[in-house]
Amino acid sequence: MLILNCPYCGVDAEETELAAGGEAHLKRYGPGSSDDEFHDYLFMRENPKGVHFERWRHANGCGKWFHAARATDTLEVFGTYSAQTTEPPQEIREAITAKRPGWTWREFE
């Protein structure tokens, strides 16, 4: 039963207030993209055993989507941040590095 801090309304919301939305920072591929690009966009997920970036919605709350950086092996949460960004913000990445030096996720580290 996770708790995540919703960056919009500032509450520590327990999981039952939230809806999980899968991997964060996907780049959308539409018409004109290759079969591989489109396939990866829809189906290929990092699914790491470790640091992960993902989307959540404060569904039974302010209704806003936000991002969380979380470890899938310990469920540690490194931070939550705005959904309106295409990559993890620097301070979140630093927070992770402080806890897990050498982590990587996609092209980030």
Binding site: Y8, C9, A13, A59, N60, C62, K64
Partner: protein, 188 residues
């Protein structure tokens, strides 16, 4: 028009707290840039209240304004005045990217009052409701058992609880079960 009827027509129940359906409440969902002066003016004109900050609720009786999210407010006005207020608001906001809609009939409102009121809510919402954590002036949107809902406190022993109209029957029954006699928790 005929006499408008609220979802449960003032049903009430008394257990470890009193649960009442409040009847019709004028409500306007207002979305926009909360830092925009036009919005602040629209709110002030409609309710006399200033723009609420994060999770703030400034409510007096049937008038007030609640922070719903970073770009959404719930404006409370007397039911009979909602059309006029909405029209005025729309006028104030013309030219501002915003959305103001009447949702008065889409909601049901309950009052939960008494010394055990906090406990009744504490049974159905995953929210810290101790006096240090939650007080009049704040609003919380959350889950009421299996439905979405929002609540604020009118005073230290009274909650106002808002949910969708279609779920009013469930919400009322739920509050009744949570307020059943003999179920004091003895925490707050």
């Amino acid at each position: 028009m005929s006499e408008p009827i609220s979802a449960l027509n003032h049903a009430s129940f008394e257990g470890i707290a009193k649960v009442e359906e409040c009847g019709l409440q004028g409500m306007i969902t207002l979305r926009g840039d909360l830092s925009d002066k036009a919005l602040a003016k629209a709110v002030k004109d409609a309710t006399g209240q200033k723009m609420p900050g994060q999770r703030e609720a400034f409510v007096e009786g049937e008038s007030g304004v609640c922070w719903m999210s970073s770009d959404e407010l719930l404006v409370l006005v007397p039911y009979a005045e909602v059309d006029a207020k909405l029209a005025a608001m729309t006028k104030t906001l013309s030219g501002t990217h915003s959305l103001a809609v009447n949702v008065s009939d889409a909601r049901a409102v309950f009052r939960v009052s008494g010394t055990s009121a906090r406990e009744v809510l504490g049974k159905i919402a995953p929210v810290e409701l101790s006096a240090e954590a939650f007080q009049p002036g704040q609003i919380r949107r959350s889950r009421l058992a299996q439905i979405a809902g929002a609540f604020w406190m009118d005073d230290t022993e009274t909650f106002r609880v808002v949910c969708f109209r279609s779920a009013a029957d469930y919400a009322f029954n739920l509050l009744k079960v949570a307020a059943q006699p003999g179920s004091e928790v003895g925490i707050y």
